[in-house]
Amino acid sequence: MSSLSYRTQRVIVVVGFLSIPVALLLLFTYYPAVRMVWLSFTNYNGYSASADWVGLDNYRTIFTNSSFFGVFLNQIPYVIVGIVQNAVALLFAIVLNSRMKGRNLFRVLLFLPFIMNGVAVSYMFQYVYDTTNGSLNLLLGFLGLEALQRSWLGDVHIVNYSLASIGFWRFMGYNMVIYLAGLQSLPNDMYEAARIDGAGRFRTVWSLTLPNMTRIIQLNMFLTLTGALSVFEYPFVLTKGGPVGASETFLLKTLETAFQFNNFGLASAMSVVLLFFVIVVVSIQNRVIEGRRSKE
């Protein structure tokens, strides 16, 4: 190959190195997205050769029938818990970025849940939340807090908070490590200057650390919000959407519609709605960042 000119080699390398990955990208990301939009206007059932055009019927169903769009309400607890999770993660990042003994050990420990198998974690929490034998209720009894004992996965009012807390347990350390990365990229002399000016610890965090961390906070919030929009694993494993549909999520509903009821047209429309929400979240976030940049 070295006998060829670099100009020819370049063409060969660019075409040869890119063709398969680009083909895969088109086949598994862009083609499905486009086809999904098209299917969302049909009543395709997943196996017959043809489908009828139904216009906006699927979208009408989603937005007028509360058993579809209403499930988004079940995901609000995930958003709330996610925001608390980020606040806690930032707190621990600041704590574990400061000088203290054993901070490496604590970092390693707090990140540990992230690497655990999600299904195994779900079953682990089934044991934690179990009403009669669960370790959480036993622990509360042990501490004399019987009044707080609950049917954690059986009560329609708290089931989503219980499930969202599993996400908190599993991902807080992950958010923390991302915040730590942000903290470590802040210049040291900035803090030096603040100390010389006599700024206290809280003042430093409030007026120096937080304003300089907005990008990282936004990144983490984006991860948290898209995670909250597409919750699937914990309700799927632990409650199957119950009790009485209280922990159903939009994605769970989409899969059910497609693979149990063979209504691929409606399921495609649901996926498009979800995708639309994700893209809206991303663009709002990007706009906020751009706006902030241009002000500087």
Partner: protein, 274 residues
Amino acid sequence: MRRIDPIQWLKYALCLLASFVVLFPPYVVFVNSFKQRHELADPFALPNSFLYLDNFKIVFERANIATSFTNIVIIIAITLVFNILFGTMVAYALGRFDFRGKSVILGAFLFAVIIPTITTQVVVFSIIKSLGLFNTLFAPILLYVGADIIQILIYLQFIRNIPYELDESAMIDGASLVRIYRSIIFPLLGPATATLVILKTINIYNDLYIPYLYMPKKQLAVVSTTIMRFASNNQAEWTLICATILLIMLPTVVLYLFLQRYIFSGVMSGAIKG
């Protein structure tokens, strides 16, 4: 500095509390996986003997643990080979050359990040079916290779830090571009490859959705689907379920404890880019 600093104490108190919350559920699983059923009344107590291993034996016999480990190892190994190969190739082509349409291709890869793969499964499912790969190990492999593009982003970010002078001086020596890719770029992307191998291994090992949807066949079970099937067939058999959980968590936890430095730097470098 003051001698007694209340804030320093508060920090330790917070960290200890958090450590308790993190370790409490795994602790309960750990001790109960060594218990006999009549010991379950107190889930916090230590088992009578840590040498009681019958639960693990039963799980190994009944839950297909060995098969599911073999399957997941095959999937991870083949996926990683292609991820590394395609990831470095794309990074070399896009990171080193200017050509018409480059910005379109680059943009296509970047934009794909915000399309969550989970939302397009309704269509991807029929693609896999029509390729005849449903219920084969190739279904998840192809999806992890083709639909996940995080490796391309990691490599693109790393290749920028490899000085172009290295390429130039190799060209002066008359090396071909493929040779430059193979003997300069590929080895220098090593740290990125290490990060990628660890993160991808954890992701694939922990994934439920793709194996559940594409490989319902029992012989093709992987760890996530195995524990699901076993737990729903043996409801409330807590000693057995705990033993399964422990067996399945062990590999990644061990991997993590040995390689945590790389995992942290991987998560961190991914974040700064964002």
